[in-house]
């Protein structure tokens, strides 16, 4: 549940954002950070469908590398 997933904002409509990570798109609520805090192309850390905080592209990339590692181990 506490597993956060970094996603990139693709489109924003009020508090609703369409976000994408590795080709998978999800609706993400911006209600916890505010609709004016992020713009299209920004990265956010997403928890249970809610953006928790904006993050840098660099941090998003590093987080994804961690996921790849864990998923690779878990998939063995």
């Amino acid at each position: 549940m506490c597993l956060g997933i970094p996603m990139q904002v693709v489109a924003i409509d009020g508090f609703n954002a369409e976000c994408e990570a590795r080709g998978v798109k999800r609706n993400v609520s911006l209600f916890m950070i505010g609709e004016n805090e992020v713009e299209v192309c920004d990265y956010v850390m997403v928890h249970v469908g809610y953006a928790l905080r904006k993050m840098t592209p660099e941090d998003a990339r590093l987080s994804w590398e961690l996921f790849d590692e864990i998923l690779a181990v878990a998939g063995e």
Partner: protein, 366 residues
Amino acid sequence: MKEDFTAAKGWLERIGELPIAHPVAVMNVCGGHERSLTQLGLRGVLPPNVKLISGPGCPVCVCPEEDLADAIALALTGDVTLVAFGDMLRVPINAAKGEVRSLAEARAKGADIRPISAPQEAVALAASNPARPVVFFAAGFETTTAPVAAMLAQGVPENLSVLLAARLTWPAVDMLLASGDAALDALIAPGHVAAVMGASEWGFIPERYHLPVAVAGFSANSLLAALYSVLRQKLAGKPFLDNCYAELVAPEGNLRAQALLAEVMEVTDANWRGIGVVPRSGFALRGEWKRFDARARFEFSALPRRRAGEMPPGCDCAAVVLGKKQPDQCRLYGTACTPQNPVGPCMVSDEGACHIWWQGGTRAAA
């Protein structure tokens, strides 16, 4: 992972150079941390005197049996659609032979129970079936509870209600340290809980208990940086609150999320399964949001339960949650209790230490 590993290797070397003459027990209180530590194999590469302990980091594991029994009973009436995070469905409760022991079993008997992965799915489901009561059974720590508060504050259909089993992380750590029987020397604080509630929430550990603490993220780099920090603090005898996840965690946290929590919920004493009541560690809906409380809308049976609040017989989940036992020190681990056939909640949840250790390759008791 290459870049992270290069940085992580540097931290490992620095940790290896520390003069750690006596064993140091470092506790994490986050299932995500435990997963990273285990899957990255960090226990195997640290100096032998550094002992990593998994603490209270699994909300599903401490969800009271009474709440689970209520959710099962409500779903079995057939009058509602019950939604819950997928982890909750297979958590077993103590029940007489032949009785329903989990939400998954209730579902198999025809109860309308659906796993969800986000609060918005509960809203969408309720909106598309306005005549059908939908109950969101919501267990979780602050990272999940703040979104539940946000969901309610933003507005939900009238047919949606919440059966809340939410918990705060730090009060359990506070209780554990105050009890004096916690064999730990330092703490790694949970990165995403801190992103919501603020790093400063963990300042009580050095201030009140004179123990080192560092907020960590989930990469090898961030976890090892935090580990190095607390070991250095321990050796120097100068504990303080360090933040090794500053890219996501501000000292004050996410103020908007905290305001939503404070608006929709109030902090209450709460029961932790197998542990007992932890003061000021739970949430209840407050003010105008009380009407969305499932407990106010439905009759819950007042049947006394013989072993209310306890873990199943022989199960050491409570000791594992409190870091008093490692998962493979439970006598059921890997024999009577496996992910395919779990006895206790720690073997069910993705954030349960037993489940994480099993996935990490530990397949038998020590």
